[in-house]
């Protein structure tokens, strides 16, 4: 079984090496001109950069990530079910129906609470 996955692992490695070699190649081939302070500063439409970009940002992004995890886990449970659906038959449909009912209840709660309201 593991032999089937060796090409997969190799391909992941090839992808990483491709990126790495290209970045290094570009560094070797590219010119090294003098670096001034202005040139190496952060781009801010030509202005002197004010304050750092390391600011705290809106909690809404955090909410999205949190809800994403929870719903993603629920979806993960659906893959084995979907693959075996024809075998499981009506029992499977009812089992997943119950599961999805609760998922949907959670979803309604999320919407009603306005957790995903972007203003």
């Amino acid at each position: 079984m593991i032999d089937l996955y060796i090409p997969l692992i190799i391909m992941v490695a090839v992808g990483g090496l491709f990126g790495l070699s290209n970045v290094i190649l570009a560094e070797v081939l590219g010119p090294r001109r003098t670096k001034t302070k202005t040139k190496l500063s952060i781009y801010e439409c030509g202005m002197e950069p004010i304050t750092s970009a390391r600011e705290r940002f809106s909690v809404k992004f955090y909410m999205v990530a949190m809800l994403f995890i929870l719903f993603d886990i629920e979806i993960v449970f659906m893959y084995p079910w979907a693959v075996q659906f024809k075998v499981l038959g009506t029992t499977g449909l009812i089992a997943m129906g119950l599961f999805m009912l609760l998922l949907f209840a959670g979803f309604i709660y999320v919407i009603k609470k306005g957790a995903l309201k972007w203003d």
Binding site: G30, F57, F107
Partner: protein, 362 residues
């Protein structure tokens, strides 16, 4: 004596497997680079037609070598890393992006296997993998890090906002994308992409059986690849270049390449999952070639590409026709429209399949 020959032959056949694998990977990587290069070229040509311009026409006949000139130019550009940037992650981010975009191609099949002598050669790098489809999904979710890290490490406000927006957008649409696939899996009964294609043989393409899932997948693909109308992460008037504002030279080039590679991936997934892959009713019977012949494989690859190209054209066409969403509209569409629709699609598919099975139709 014969045992030594056996040993050598065994050793050679082992090497033959490795050589075939190497050749396949080489073909995939080069094919991908060529596809991306010409995709960029056609994107520029089509945008020029949409704008009533001429587009690239200087490098080679009709400007056909424009993309290669661009790549060489990118190699010869100076790599600028801002002083305030986090050097390590600024370096790693584009490598993650392109690495993940390429790794996906390990599980994408371009046709059935063919026989050379008594050796079966598959038209994918890693055939027969039980979890092929999930590998594609997981790689696309890992791709989020490339963009988030690029935005964060640059220490630039535009980059940070672009990276964040992109990450939030990608994870939001990953949900509806994942859900839209459930219906396809219910019909095919496997996560192996080749099996999913075979389940659609005889014209039973999933685009007809799962039209809602196809539309959801299509919209989610646009969002996942950060293409217009979902190109908020690099909305030029607001965020300059988005997460790659502080990238120059080949590092920028790698992000660019990853974006186009992802576009090809998304289109290939649509072909495999919804358009029947290399299946074409009646075509292979009409050819009358023996099963396992390399010619069949070549025709299959041709059919696959013939289905791929219109989708790629659609991607480009949409980009130059539609305006951009506002961020709240984008999030509302993803969470409040696509997610419930995808759930409904699963419920409908499940009920219809059960009823059909009850009456003995399926």
């Amino acid at each position: 004596m014969s045992s030594i020959i056996d040993l050598i032959l065994g050793f050679l056949s082992e090497h033959i497997d490795a050589l075939i694998l190497l050749a396949k990977i080489g073909l995939i990587v080069n094919g991908l680079l060529m596809a991306a290069a010409y995709l960029v070229y056609f994107e520029r040509k089509i945008s020029a037609w949409a704008h009533n311009r001429i587009g690239p026409n200087r490098v080679g006949p009709l400007g056909l070598f424009q993309s290669f000139a661009d790549v060489f130019k990118l190699y010869l550009k100076e790599d600028i890393i801002p002083t305030l940037a986090d050097k390590k992650f600024h370096f790693i981010a584009p490598i993650i992006s392109i690495g993940v975009a390429m790794a996906v191609y390990a599980v994408i099949p371009f046709g059935d296997s063919f026989m050379v002598g008594n050796k079966e050669i598959f038209l994918s790098v890693a055939p027969g993998i039980n979890i092929g489809l999930l590998f594609v999904l997981s790689m696309s979710s890992v791709g989020v890090y490339g963009i988030t890290l690029a935005g964060w490490s640059s220490n630039n406000k535009y980059s940070l906002l672009g990276g964040l927006r992109s990450a939030a957008q990608m994870i939001s649409y990953e949900l509806s994308m994942g859900l839209s696939l459930i219906g396809v899996l219910m019909l095919a009964g496997s996560l192996d992409l080749t099996t999913i294609v075979h389940a659609q043989s005889g014209g039973k393409w999933n685009i007809f059986l799962q039209p809602l899932a196809f539309i959801i997948f299509l919209v989610a693909s646009f969002a996942e690849t950060n293409r217009t109308p979902f190109d908020l992460p690099e909305a030029e008037p607001e965020l300059v270049g988005g997460y790659h504002t502080e990238y120059s030279g080949m590092k920028f080039g790698l992000f660019f390449l990853a974006e186009y590679a992802n576009m090809v991936t998304a289109s290939a997934m649509m072909v495999l999952l919804f358009l029947g892959g290399w299946e074409m009713p009646g075509l292979y019977e009409a050819l009358g070639l023996p099963a396992g012949s390399p010619l069949i494989a070549a025709v299959q690859f041709g059919v696959f590409v013939a289905k791929l190209v219109p989708i790629l054209f659609f991607f480009i066409w949409v980009r130059w026709s539609l305006p951009r969403f506002r961020y709240d509209q984008l999030m509302n569409l993803g969470w409040k429209v696509m997610l419930p629709l995808a759930l409904a699609n699963i419920v409908i598919t499940g009920i219809v399949m059960t009823i059909l099975k009850h009456y003995g139709i399926m």
